[in-house]
Amino acid sequence: MPKTLEIRKLHVEIEGREIIKGVDLTVSTGEIHAIMGPNGSGKSTLSYSILGHPDYAVTQGEVLFDGENVLDMKPDERAAKGLFLAFQYPVEVPGVTLASFLRTAVNSIRKKQARWGGQPLKEISAIEFYKRLEEKMNLLQMDPSFAQRYLNEGFSGGEKKRAEILQMAMLGPSIAILDETDSGLDIDALRIVSDGVNALYGPDVGLLVITHYQRILRYVQPQFVHVLVDGRIALSGGPELAEQLEEHGYDWVKDQLGESAVTRQNG
């Protein structure tokens, strides 16, 4: 069954300042969307508000996932429904190993899903967990010892991003938002991370790839590209839009917008 994330006329404020000013966007499983935009256009705000960061106040609009109002849910419930955010800046949690954290997360999600479904809880066994973990770590070319390191503590930029995709692989979301996953990666790391993402993508998984540059889109190829400028989606199109942006830069979008506004006025 396909699932859809629907964002309707979304307005988001941080500390009283409006950052997202009416965004409409629909992402279904089986689709890859890219959101491109210059710094400060609201890309991260959009992703944080989809997962429910408490500092981001939704003042207008709706976010629905699989027909349900996501905005009434806590972040952990959104995760258990099948939403995932790969952070641009993953947070360090000293003293907690990646493995033990992931096992807690897998079981927390199972707990909620069992409760909603009226099913008895089946916690993942240690053996099953470590088998899956090893498999996914292989996929991302990560050394098994990595799982015993403290979550994001002392990780290099590339390691952090890889660990984010590992978490995605273990939690198995329906819609995953990748927030600037390509930033801070060298070309080899970018290829490994992208290969991992592509391996996880399929008919039951939708991706929303947020990026400043076109780089990652050569590996993770979107069917839909949207350009976010000043809290609004200024342009939407196919993969060719990303190339045009690469060629002409974001000022070109602003010019396009200006022209169309002028055209509208004249017409």
């Binding site: 952990d76 955010l85 949690v93 000293p94 003293g95 978490q167």
Partner: protein, 469 residues
């Protein structure tokens, strides 16, 4: 999540844990303390003259000493309102089946071994660890190790007890040490002969059969040259106490090249003033390690100390404190460098929640002549919310130039960004907080024997349950 057992420890505590059978003692002294009561205690125990005199002398000191003018608020403490000696009944006659279901469930959730559960619930008739104790006892005896209650030691090994008792912590050390010296009962006595290394940790609950741990326990450990012992006391299950003062004295002598590790995890009910004096003397090339976990209680004041008496002595204090609503944990450690070429390390981790307050209080004292001393102090505080409070009172008295002393302190608050990150991965806010806390204390917890580490983590989770958000 398991709402069937969703209790808040700080509310209805007595209802939850008040299964302590009030009629299980066979004798107790009347309320309050006096020389007559002190004599009565000594007489009931059939003690030798010297101990009787020691107690009486200590009582005199207790009467003269004033209350500490620093540290936690002790104004709620009423010496006249306490029982100072309660002789436990020989047979409790309680059956495991009679233990309330919710108590059993608590033990189960904490993952406490069956044998220990029964002891905690006051079930002694079929105390499973008796057999464990006997077989271990056989091994220890062959090695010449003595491990028994201090009362028993006074009867069986009076010379060793007399030689060391009160030498590390004299009655005049502080008011509570004096009180303990006057009315002490129970506690562990350990003697390890030269060169003997006791591989299996000695655990207090193996020992406790007839004489249960008291309010004024007295522990004495002697490690002869080149020996090793790890003593583990307490447990993470809440200890319900009708008496509101727990005042223990622990004295340890670590001789040349010996090593003693003392692990203590205590969780008192929240009416208890927990005022404990712990000190070790470490001689040439000896190593003393305190690992001290404090949960529960109304007020705890406890600063395990190490006196580094001779060249090459090393000491370490690792301390964890958790202060919940209405609690004050005033804990830390002391290192007194008397000899040159000695080293110490104090690591303190405290967690405060709600109106809880935790204080680190520590002393590093380098006496004149103790050159080439190394000492590192690190105290980290974690606040779980905006109301929680943490303070540090580090005192350094350095009377020598050629020393290497370091002090680091951090205070952190469970951050919104950490919580959002973890909850976005499916953890509830409570689970996320518990994960952050377990990571915070990990550097110390990983040094605990495994079963204690697991218990401690679960206990803290239980403490925090329903407390966040």
């Amino acid at each position: 999540m398991a709402n069937a057992l969703n209790f808040n420890r700080r509310e209805g505590y007595l209802e939850k844990y008040g299964f302590h059978d009030k009629n299980s003692y066979v004798y107790r002294t009347e309320k309050g303390v006096s020389s007559r009561i002190v004599e009565e205690i000594s007489g009931l125990k059939g003690e030798p003259e010297w101990m009787r005199n020691f107690r009486l002398r200590s009582y005199g000191i207790f009467e003269k000493k004033s209350m500490p003018g620093w540290g936690a608020d002790l104004s709620g403490l009423r010496f006249d309102d306490l029982y100072y000696y309660v002789k436990p009944s020989d047979k409790k006659g309680r059956n495991w089946d009679e233990v309330p279901e919710k108590v059993k469930l608590t033990f189960e959730r904490l993952g406490i071994p069956e044998a220990e559960r029964k002891y905690l619930a006051g079930v002694e008739a079929q105390y499973d660890s008796e057999s464990v104790y006997s077989s271990l006892k056989g091994i220890w005896e062959k090695l010449g190790v003595i491990f028994c209650s201090t009362d028993e030691a006074l009867k069986k090994y009076p010379d060793i007890v007399r030689q060391y008792f009160g030498t590390v912590i004299p009655p005049g050390d502080n008011k509570f040490a004096a009180l303990n010296s006057a009315v002490w009962s129970g506690g562990s006595f350990i003697y390890v002969p030269a060169g003997v290394k006791v591989e299996i940790p000695l655990q207090a609950y193996f020992r406790i059969n007839a004489e249960s741990a008291g309010q004024f326990e007295r522990t004495l450990i002697i490690a002869e040259p080149g020996s090793f012992v790890h003593y583990v006391e307490g447990c993470t299950a809440p200890v319900y106490s009708t008496n509101s003062l727990h005042s223990a004295v622990v004295e340890i002598v670590v001789k040349e090249g010996a090593r003693v590790r003392y692990t203590s995890i205590q969780n008192w009910s929240d009416n208890v003033y927990n005022l404990v004096t712990k000190r070790a003397f470490a001689y040439k090339d000896a190593t003393m390690e305190w690992l001290d976990g404090n949960l529960g209680s109304k007020v705890t004041m406890k600063y395990p100390s190490i006196y580094l008496m001779e060249k090459g002595a090393r000491g370490e204090v690792l301390s964890i404190a958790y202060a919940g609503n209405g609690q004050h944990q005033d804990a830390g450690g002391k290192a007194v460098h008397i000899a040159p070429y000695t080293s110490s390390r104090i690591v303190s981790k405290s967690i405060s929640k709600g109106t809880g307050r935790s204080s680190y209080r520590g002393l590093v004292h380098v006496r004149k002549g103790a050159h080439h001393v190394k000492s590192k102090v690190r105290c980290d505080a974690l606040l779980l919310d905006d109301r929680a409070r943490s303070d540090t009172y580090p005192v350094m008295e350095i009377n020598e130039d050629e020393v290497d002393i370091g002090h680091e302190a951090t205070v952190s608050k469970v951050g919104d960004e950490q919580l959002f990150y973890l909850t976005s991965r499916g953890l509830t806010e409570e689970e996320a907080t518990a994960v952050i806390v377990s990571g915070f204390i990990e550097p110390i917890v990983k040094q605990l024997p495994m079963e204690y580490a697991i218990e401690l983590n679960r206990l803290i989770e239980l403490e925090m349950e329903g407390s966040v958000g």
